[in-house]
């Protein structure tokens, strides 16, 4: 069983934005927890240096908004939520991704596409 495999960076690069947006769409959450969710999903460890700029881009694009919540005497946590525009975007990404994944799988495995 391929647990904790180090996935090729080029593969992850294409997948991370939709995956992160999907996690955020499940409910308000913060960076460290998002990384945990992705690791639990079997995508490996996403470094802070990759994740936080990605979240910043999503916020810049209007797909998510953020709010700081104070912790007990610490720096607090930056919580992200998905916006309506973000939900639309995610829906489109999910549909497109399914098609892309099916075709890629068929191309790589040499088998015929489903559907």
């Amino acid at each position: 069983m391929v647990e904790n495999l180090n996935w090729p960076a080029e593969w992850l690069r294409g997948v991370l934005t939709p995956a992160v947006l999907s996690v955020v769409s499940d409910g308000q959450t913060y960076g460290y927890l998002i990384a945990q969710r992705l690791a639990d999903a079997g995508l490996g460890t996403v470094k802070g240096g990759t994740l936080y700029p990605l979240l910043a881009r999503l916020e810049q694009d209007g797909d998510v908004i953020s709010v700081w919540r104070e912790g007990q005497g610490g720096p607090g946590r930056k919580y992200y939520s998905i916006t309506p525009a973000g939900r639309q975007h995610l829906a489109a990404l999910r549909t497109d991704w399914q098609v892309f994944a099916d075709r890629s799988t068929a191309a790589i495995t040499g088998r015929k596409e489903h559907s």
Binding site: G48, G49, Y52, Q60, S66, W68
Partner: protein, 139 residues
């Protein structure tokens, strides 16, 4: 009291981002999120975020520092040079002093005034560009 590696990293990052013309409010958020993550995960900042320069590259290009220094140096030349030439010209016009570089005094005055005016224009343009850039941030 010595600072922890996390604090040093954060302070270095703050400096670099400010040097690269990232608005102060945005810098605070970027830096605070690192502190938040490191507090939670206990990771070494360099292991989690890369070097300070690498992480800063995600938010602002390195070329901004070069442009900043070019602006500073040329401003100094224009301002001081312009003032020097202007004052020399004024003195020569008033009868004292000698012609600077064998230039007629009124040319010295004109040149000096142009230098100072250019310096002011440069500063205004740089300020306007910086303001426009800071408005594109949505954090």
């Amino acid at each position: 009291m010595t600072s922890t590696p996390g604090e040093e990293y954060v302070e270095e990052l703050r400096e670099i981002l400010e040097l690269r013309d990232v608005p102060a409010e945005v810098v605070s958020q970027i830096v605070r999120e690192i502190q938040s993550h490191v507090a939670e995960s206990g990771e070494d900042p360099v292991a989690a975020f890369g070097t300070v320069g690498e992480y800063a590259d995600n938010f602002a290009p390195r070329s901004r520092i070069t442009r900043f220094w070019l602006l500073t140096v040329s401003s100094v030349f224009l301002a001081f040079g312009g003032t020097y030439v202007l004052i020399n010209g004024v003195f020569a016009l008033l009868g004292g002093g000698h012609d600077l570089w064998a230039m007629p005094p009124w040319i010295s005055v004109a040149l000096g005034a142009t230098g100072i005016a250019s310096f002011i224009v440069l500063i205004l343009i740089a300020g306007a560009r910086s303001k426009r850039r800071s408005h594109t941030w949505r954090m």
